[in-house]
């Protein structure tokens, strides 16, 4: 799931400094689940912004909306009418949502209300952790189900670096060393021999390095 985090209110305030009437649009999928941009957050942020603006002597009117998924044309289409009447739209969707809105309604200003942070999971209620970098060429079969691309600070492919200390990463002692985790897991699985296979340099062209990606399934095209 995409994990995002609300931007500081000061930053948002600066983006909408000149507006007197805006819309805040939440998204009912990933950002709802990570408490960054669901209907509840739309309400909280709207209330906070209205108060902040009133304190600054520049009241603002806010229309609150939440759609099921901002990244689908059909779900954002019904907003067309109301979007007309506002000066800017603050999207609490991930970066995809903001862009979908901007692409569908090119004449309008769309602003990001959240920072799209990573692809991850909730370790527990209120704690999220990164798990995937969308490299486009998954190797989890070789690493005991633990991703060295996203969880090793250096995305190393053949064991830990010299910065691995007591199972922790030299970047931050709060971060587990991914290769230590992989080693422990493979050991438990009795598959330590996996580590003997040397991974050649990864072909990063399936990832961001190959430029913007696109998938086409001819059979599904209407």
């Amino acid at each position: 799931m995409i994990i995002a985090e609300r931007k500081p209110i000061d930053e948002i305030k600066a983006m909408i400094a000149d507006c007197r009437r805006i819309m805040i649009i939440g998204c009912g999928t990933c950002v709802t689940v990570c408490f960054a941009g669901g209907e509840k957050e739309v309400g909280t942020l709207s209330s906070a912004i209205r108060m902040a603006r009133r304190l600054g002597g520049k009241p603002i009117e806010i229309i609150e909306k939440t759609v099921q998924r901002q990244c689908e044309w059909e779900y954002i289409e019904p907003l067309a009418g109301e979007i007309e009447g506002v000066e800017a739209v603050l999207s609490l969707g991930c970066g995809i949502g903001v862009q979908a809105l901007a692409e569908r309604f090119p004449q309008k200003t769309f602003l990001p209300g959240v920072n799209t942070s990573f692809l991850g999971l909730p370790l527990e209620q209120g704690v999220w952790s990164e798990r995937c970098q969308a490299c486009g060429n998954c190797i989890l079969d070789k690493t005991g189900g633990i991703c060295p691309i996203s969880r090793c600070s250096k995305s190393l492919l053949n064991g830990p670096c010299g910065g691995s200390q007591n199972g922790k990463c030299e970047i931050d002692p709060k971060i587990d060393c991914a290769w230590q985790l992989i080693y422990e897991r493979l050991k438990a699985l009795g598959k330590l021999d996996f580590l003997l296979e040397i991974q050649p340099p990864k072909d990063w062209s399936t990832g961001r390095h190959g430029g913007p990606r696109k998938i086409v399934r001819e059979d599904l095209i209407l």
Partner: protein, 674 residues
């Protein structure tokens, strides 16, 4: 009736929304409570005194500790509004006339409902006063006359015509009524004829209902010093207690079965016992002994209990050779009543059952005679007041359908499933409060007193509001699992279609509704919109001109009333600039409410609940604290200072500290007028 209903509501013959009126009491909305309780019950004041309250037997709180004191709460709502509110008005009027024979609870209920539907209703009553058994049967110390009058007046105010001293069957027969232009007739004459024992000397005895009737009509009744009452029903108990009040020194009740089989209400039996009535079980009289035409005692035989009979109770069997005598100078036989059907003539065409009751269609209550219906004790034999009312209401629907040429439809509500052991184990135990009683020598004044406001509110807080918990808007649900994780009762689950919260188990704590990131959950009582409306209303009448900072306190009503603190007094001592929003558990205080209060102009906001660990809903106050912390951060972020928002945990026994808190917030200097 759609959905599943609380067992109390299903058990009530009138399907009263008990949960609804108790929830209104819990929120201090007494007028609303009355309106809800009165809606299905035209004899609410009467029921507040004499209802057999089958609801309490089914109350799910009874599985936790003791049932909610529903009957006492009904009396509370009836008493707080008594005479102040006129309830019913009629919308339309038809020329169609309906005659009702008998003005007991059944006839009165039918009259009320038919009049509200718009019919011209005339009640024919044989006695000088209306009310049937309510007036001439039930003693005044249980059901004061003025209480009956409140209900009857409201019914007559609908335009119902009452003809007292007008027995049917003598000068006017049922058939005459038809000729006089009544399009339908409802017979609700009750069961007023005492059953006989068929023993020697019976002619020297009083009979229960006649005995009570004489007393109720204010006639002189001479009884001796030592009174023997035969029977185990409410009439026997009423007779015994009335005998004590007439001056009897010793009153004994002789009942052929054991205490467990007594049809009388348990509370009635206990009250009689505490007043000094003696009980002799497993004995029945065989002969009344007299000397010179005066009763001197009774010969009885001991009984043992055999296998259950058709009533489900164990059949009493005489023990041969166990005869004994018991001394007494007055005997009152109260072994049951049957309908007196002597007013029915063969030409009326009304079929009678072998049990001596009027035969009716069990669904429509139609008798074998066209346009004539019957209900209440006259078709069932002696039953409760609330059952009689329900027959009256059913008859009204049926008569209306008959007059329109339609088929009546009656729907029975479906009951919620039982509480699971898991849920039961987590519900906070709260003892039930006894209803205070009159501490005076025995008289015909009302014995039972009602709850005070504090007692009633406290008692209402024991209601589990069964089935009025979380409702999920599934199209909004993101299946995020938050509800599953935060519920202190572990009720929600998430399946392929989203979250599912079992209404039978949900305790309506509101935590999931406040935590849900998609706002997909609302709760039945004290939900988001309801509390938001209260916040908005509070600012409507708060003049902003007040020079003092405006403080809004979200205070838990459960905590406030839990430990005997005089809440009204505490409220009256709050400074004028402090406004309270009552909530049933701080777990229902949404972070959006805190922000809303500031947005609307509050200078400071506090949330007051009990100590962590004491919460009515296990973790409601813990979640409230988390939300307060979160909103404090937002307030800091927008430059309003998080210091303006505080969470307080106060022991219920020290609830008056709310006053100090409010003052302290202002005096600390952290909160200034914005």
């Amino acid at each position: 009736m759609k959905g599943a209903f609380p067992p109390c509501q299903v058990a009530c013959p009138l399907h009263t929304d008990i949960r609804g009126y108790i929830a209104a009491i819990a929120r201090l909305e007494f007028d609303k409570a009355y309106a809800i309780a009165r809606e299905p019950n035209p004899l609410i004041h009467v029921c507040s005194r004499v209802c057999t309250h089958p609801c309490e037997e089914k109350c799910r709180r009874g599985e936790v500790d003791e049932p909610v004191a529903i009957w006492a709460l009904k009396r509370f709502v009836a008493d707080v509004v008594r005479g102040k509110r006129r309830f019913a008005t009629r919308n339309s009027q038809f020329a169609t006339r309906v005659a009702i024979v008998g003005s007991g609870p059944c006839g009165l209920a039918a009259a009320h409902d038919l009049a509200r539907m718009g019919y011209q209703v005339t009640i024919f009553e044989a006695h000088s006063e209306p009310g049937g058994m309510l007036t001439i049967g039930i003693p005044r110390y249980r059901l004061p006359r003025e209480v009956i009058e409140v209900d009857i007046k409201q019914i007559l105010d609908l335009g119902v015509e009452l003809k007292t001293n007008t027995p049917i069957g003598e000068e006017i027969t049922l058939s005459d009524l038809k000729e006089r232009g009544y399009d339908a007739i409802f017979i609700s004459t009750g069961a007023h004829k005492s059953r006989r024992l068929g023993i020697e000397g019976e002619a020297l005895a009083f009979f229960g209902v006649e005995f009570l009737r004489e007393i109720n009509l204010g006639r002189q009744v001479e009884i001796g010093r030592r009174v023997l009452v035969i029977g185990g029903g409410n009439v026997a108990i009423d007779s015994a207690r009335s005998a004590l009040r007439l001056g009897a020194e010793e009153v004994k009740i002789i009942y052929r079965r054991s205490r467990a089989e007594m049809p009388a209400g348990e509370e009635e039996v206990e009250e009689a016992e505490s007043e000094g009535v003696e009980f002799h079980f497993l004995a029945t009289p065989t002969k009344i002994i007299s000397e010179d035409g005066k009763v001197v005692g009774m010969e009885c035989i001991r009984m043992r209990l055999g296998p259950p009979d058709e009533s489900g109770r164990r059949r009493p069997i005489p023990i041969e050779g166990s005869e004994f005598t018991i001394e007494g100078d007055t005997i009152i036989i109260a072994i049951g009543q049957t309908p007196d059907l002597s007013f029915i003539r063969p030409e009326d065409g009304i079929e009678i059952t072998t049990r001596g009751t009027i035969a009716v269609d069990p669904i429509t209550l139609a008798t074998s005679a066209q346009g004539i219906f019957a209900g209440g004790d006259v078709i069932t034999g002696p039953g409760s007041v609330v059952e009689a009312i329900s027959f009256g209401k059913k008859a009204a629907i049926s008569i209306d359908a008959y007059l329109r040429g339609e088929t009546p439809s009656f729907e029975e509500p479906v009951e919620l499933e039982a509480l699971s052991q898991k849920t039961l184990a987590r519900i906070k135990r709260i003892g039930r409060e006894e209803v205070p009683k009159l501490q005076k020598p025995l008289g015909f004044e009302e014995v039972k007193l009602g709850y005070s406001v504090d007692m009633a509110v406290r008692a209402s807080h024991r209601c589990l509001t069964c089935g009025a918990g979380a409702i999920i808007e599934s199209e909004k649900c993101a299946s995020c699992l938050t509800c599953v994780r935060v519920c202190p009762y572990e009720v929600p689950i998430v399946n392929g279609k989203g979250a599912v919260i079992d209404a039978s188990q949900c305790q309506a704590c509101g935590i999931c509704a406040c935590e849900c990131p998609s706002k997909a959950i609302t709760i039945g009582f004290d939900g988001f919109e309801a509390i938001l409306a209260r916040i908005e209303a509070l600012f409507e009448d708060s003049p902003k001109a007040n020079p003092e900072p405006l403080i809004v306190g979200f205070c838990c009503l459960y905590c406030a009333y839990a430990d005997g603190v005089d809440v009204e007094k505490v409220r009256s001592q709050l400074p004028a600039n402090v406004k309270i929003i009552d909530v049933l558990c701080t777990g229902k205080v949404d972070s959006l409410f805190l922000l809303k209060a500031f947005e609307l102009g509050a200078d400071g906001v506090f949330v007051a609940g009990c100590l962590e660990g004491d919460c009515h809903n296990i973790s409601g106050n813990i979640w409230a604290r988390k939300r307060v912390e979160h909103v404090k951060e937002i307030l800091d972020e927008i430059g309003l200072s998080g210091e303006r928002l505080q969470m307080y945990n106060i022991p219920s026994s020290e609830w008056w500290k709310v006053i100090e808190i409010a003052k302290e917030m202002v005096e600390s200097g952290k909160i200034s007028k914005r």
